[in-house]
């Protein structure tokens, strides 16, 4: 694999990591549908 290949693989890995991170974060927050919490219960736990 050339240097360019490594760079491209790195970019792909970064994009996927960011996407997965957002999915996991939303799931932990209890968001039902990734990217949209419009219909979720938005009361803060006290």
């Amino acid at each position: 694999m050339s240097t360019v290949d490594f760079v491209v693989v790195g970019v792909i890995a970064l994009i996927l990591a960011l996407a997965i991170n957002k999915i996991v974060k939303d799931k932990k927050k209890g968001v039902k549908c990734i990217g949209c919490d419009a219909c979720c219960d938005k009361s803060r736990k006290r």
Partner: protein
Amino acid sequence: MRIALAGNPNSGKTTLFNAITGKVEHVGNWPGVTVEKKEGDVKQNLNPRKENLVVVDLPGAYSMSPYTSEESITKDFVQNENPDVIINIVDATNLSRSLFFTTQLLELGIPVVVALNKSDLTEAKGIAINIPTLSDILKCPVIATVATKSANNGLLELMNAAIIVGKSQKKQTAPFAGGAKKASKEGFEKADKKRYAFVNDVVAEVEKRKISSEKQTLQDKVDRIIAHKWLGIPIFAAIIYLVFSISQAWVGPPLADIFVGWIDLFNETVGSLLGEDVNPVIGALLLDGIIGGVGAVIGFLPLIMVLFFCLALLEDCGYMARVAVVMDRFFKKVGLSGRSIIPMIVGTGCGIPGVMATRTIKNERQRRTMAMLTTFMPCGAKLPIIALFAGVFFGENSWVGTSMYFLGIFVIIIGALIIRQITGDFSRSYFIMELPEYRFPSIKRAAVSMLMRAKAFIIKAGTIILVSNAVVHILQTFDWQFQVVAETAPETSILASIATPLAVLFIPLGFGLWQFAAAAVTGFIAKENVVGTLAVCFGITNFIDVEELALVGSGSEVSAVFGIGAVAALAYLVFNLFTPPCFAAIGAMNSELESRKWLTGAIAFQLGMGYVLAFLVYQIGTLVSTGSLGQGFIGGLIAVAIMVGFVVYLMKKGSKNKQIFAEMQAVKL
């Protein structure tokens, strides 16, 4: 300080909440839009002393005796979570109905401030309310508000009043002492009658109406046409056709062309940056799998935005509530009611809030039936699939989208009929719905609603769809020995080998190709994935600029790329729209159905419905267009006969339950 917003449905609570907090929660001009509580901090300009103010928006309720499950959320919150202040939103144009709940809130001992909302409409309706007298009688501050206005809306006065009564910590005194003992049903009825009498006395004292409510208004005259039992349906069909024409033929495609041009430019720029030095497999993953796959889905964004803008205008002007009245007649015949239309309308945006909106239905069987069937309405995520097949195979014809909406309604009616027979519960409920005032739709509110949905669509495309497309691309690139698949032998890929056995089942439906099977399966993760997966599998990154791809016209070139004709494409569209929704919506169904048995039944029913409908579309369509039946007719017919036979068996079994229900009713009487 915690401030609860409570009031009757469609009194403007969420509009007020958005105005106070600066949030953009979904509002609609009909009762029952909010089914969950929402919290937000008060905007700085309404909180000059920078107090710690948290506002909680609650679902609408007519009384403290909850009738539906979302009303219970309101009751439980104000009774158990001890807010410091309750802002009771009262519809100034409908004082007599609103004050029943007000008097109950005043009995809780929690300080109350009444927001006399929609005060701008009172003058036009010839209503004059003596606010100081009302405040004296209710023993709490009463502030006139107009939540839809950006200035001189009374919100600062309202917040100041809420802070003062909240800080005073004085126990709220009630103007009405609750009435008779409520140990029995008769006790409750007696107490309610007393309360109504008190409310009527209050209204008589503080309200002067110049126009008698018995007099026919312009709105009544319009309703006589729009909500007419025969004219209502063609008017509804014409409006939906118009909405689809605007979004998918007139305004959407030119905007999409420009947008897709940018995506193509981005793809080409990245391609030229990579040059010839990069490994073709890695380059293809980035260009075709990630950018191409996501780009193919995102390309439909302008069409979706225009559609949502039009639907938001319809919601805002008050028309959708009339649709509920028009549909009530048909829904009643299958054991539902016009109230069932609310989840369907909400479900056109997204199936999840649609399923959650079934909470507004009191009857358990009706509620579960609608939780099972609501997702048959084409949601926002299914629009790219509709737009793709309508655009590529039917020349952007608006009848495709319109017919899918009406097919959705038809399938829900048929489904409700079947479920009623299976459960044997033939109980009926009567539909009473307050029709909201017609109003000129707010462009701002429609734009905000559209932008919120667009944001959600982009985030979804950049997360779950991106990951799915990357996985699909990798599975399509390699075989089980992890060797790159030859371009001439794509059927040796991991994806093809997984999807091929499934594709066999789809031969009687006209799309027995592994690419279509794979796309249908990824659609369960998110329905937009169907488009993304087809883009990755067929190597097409632009579904919008179809002329450039020379796909529009005879349809033969489309068939050459996709390997199917227009009839099979329509069958595939129907299959994807009427099989189970995405996993997130199935999760919402699970929560609302509250029964594993019902959920299993729902998924099986949806799978069966999608299969049967696609079979009928393909086989009948092929027979009509070619004069002979399509491929795999016998196999498909056997599968369909087994499914139909099983449903008939369950329906016959259900008729025994009907007798049991009838006996139970007789015992009750």
